[in-house]
């Protein structure tokens, strides 16, 4: 009899009781392929900044739409999970004794991703609902006062806030 261990359907594959090991393996693949797809788009549009800065700013308008803001959080999650789970795989590869604790290590990778995602999700989503300032607002204000030059890029100290702004009201 020919033996075929391969799951024949998607639902059959999902019923395989591999627990954390199986789900982290699957999520590692899915996040990896998702990151690659985003990366191709991201590298292509960022390269525009050199040749057509106006087109690049136009592309950024798309990234500022609410749908993309949520997708950006998804990318953050994908990279963070892929990083921590990848670190778990490296540890297990080079330190065989860790294989005995692979299930616990998988839970640690998921847990670390979840814990770090909480503040990140707040920082990235709260501005959408007006609950907090967009990250980097203070830095952007300093940059504007500095004539468009990022504060960290120039050695000159940022000028003091102009008094005329107060008087204009």
């Amino acid at each position: 009899m020919a033996t075929e261990y391969r799951a024949r359907s998607f639902s059959q594959g999902l019923r395989y009781k591999g627990n954390a090991g199986m789900w982290t393996w699957l999520l590692h693949r899915v996040t990896g392929l998702g990151i690659l797809l985003f990366l191709i788009i991201h590298v292509a549009d960022t390269a525009l900044v050199v040749y057509r800065p106006d087109w690049y700013d136009h592309a950024l308008d798309l990234y500022r739409s609410p749908l993309f803001r949520v997708a950006e959080l998804g990318i953050f999650f994908a990279v963070m999970f892929h990083a921590f789970n990848g670190l778990r795989i490296i540890i297990q590869d080079f330190w065989p004794i860790a294989m005995l604790h692979q299930r616990r290590l998988a839970h640690v990778a998921i847990g670390m991703t979840a814990v770090l995602m909480l503040p990140v999700a707040w920082m990235m989503l709260a501005p959408l609902f007006g609950l907090a300032d967009e990250p980097g607002t203070e830095r952007a204000r300093q940059r504007q006062l500095n004539g468009g030059v990022p504060v960290e890029a120039s050695a000159a100290p940022a000028p003091v806030a102009p008094v005329s702004l107060e008087g204009a009201r």
Binding site: L36, L39, I40, V43, I75, M123, R143, V149, P150
Partner: protein
């Protein structure tokens, strides 16, 4: 093809072992096997580097600069520093090659037909290769005398 016939495929990883995994290749297969060893090592080394580089990149642009405040001017000011362009060349290269190899693993696992697999792989290599060339070319041909007002 009858249903009982098992299709033996050449994955380039050597002979399948009954208990799972692959027999270490000998002779003709040894050369191909070496490539798999180096690609395995590359995934670990680049992955370790990417944990720091990619997470730094995400934190900087999403949580320090903020997408709302992002503009061509901000990116160009950053790229005026050759070290940051070098960082971006490294990040794009490691990330795209790491992703390319990871996608190759998936293609070899799921695309069963040898001809289809070959075509899918060639499309994958072409798309990622052109993207990498386009990104690195942009970072290298960047005219760093513009962007800054001073």
């Amino acid at each position: 093809m009858s249903t009982t016939e098992i299709h033996v495929e050449d994955t380039g990883r050597g002979e399948r072992r009954p208990g799972g995994g692959y027999q270490s290749p000998e002779g003709e297969l040894a050369k191909k096997g070496k490539f798999e060893l180096y690609s395995w090592l590359f995934m670990r080394v680049s992955g370790l580097l990417l944990i720091f580089m990619a997470l730094y990149h995400l934190v900087w642009w999403n949580l320090m600069i903020g997408v709302e405040h992002l503009s061509a001017e901000v990116v160009l000011a950053r790229w005026n520093n050759p070290l940051w362009r070098l960082f971006n060349i490294g990040l794009a290269s490691f990330a795209l090659l790491h992703g390319l190899n990871g996608a190759r693993y998936s293609v070899e696992d799921y695309v069963r037909n040898p001809k289809t697999r070959h075509i899918v792989k060639m499309v994958l290599y072409t798309v990622v290769g052109l993207t990498l060339a386009w990104g690195v070319f942009a970072l290298l041909t960047f005219d760093f005398t513009r962007g800054l007002r001073s």
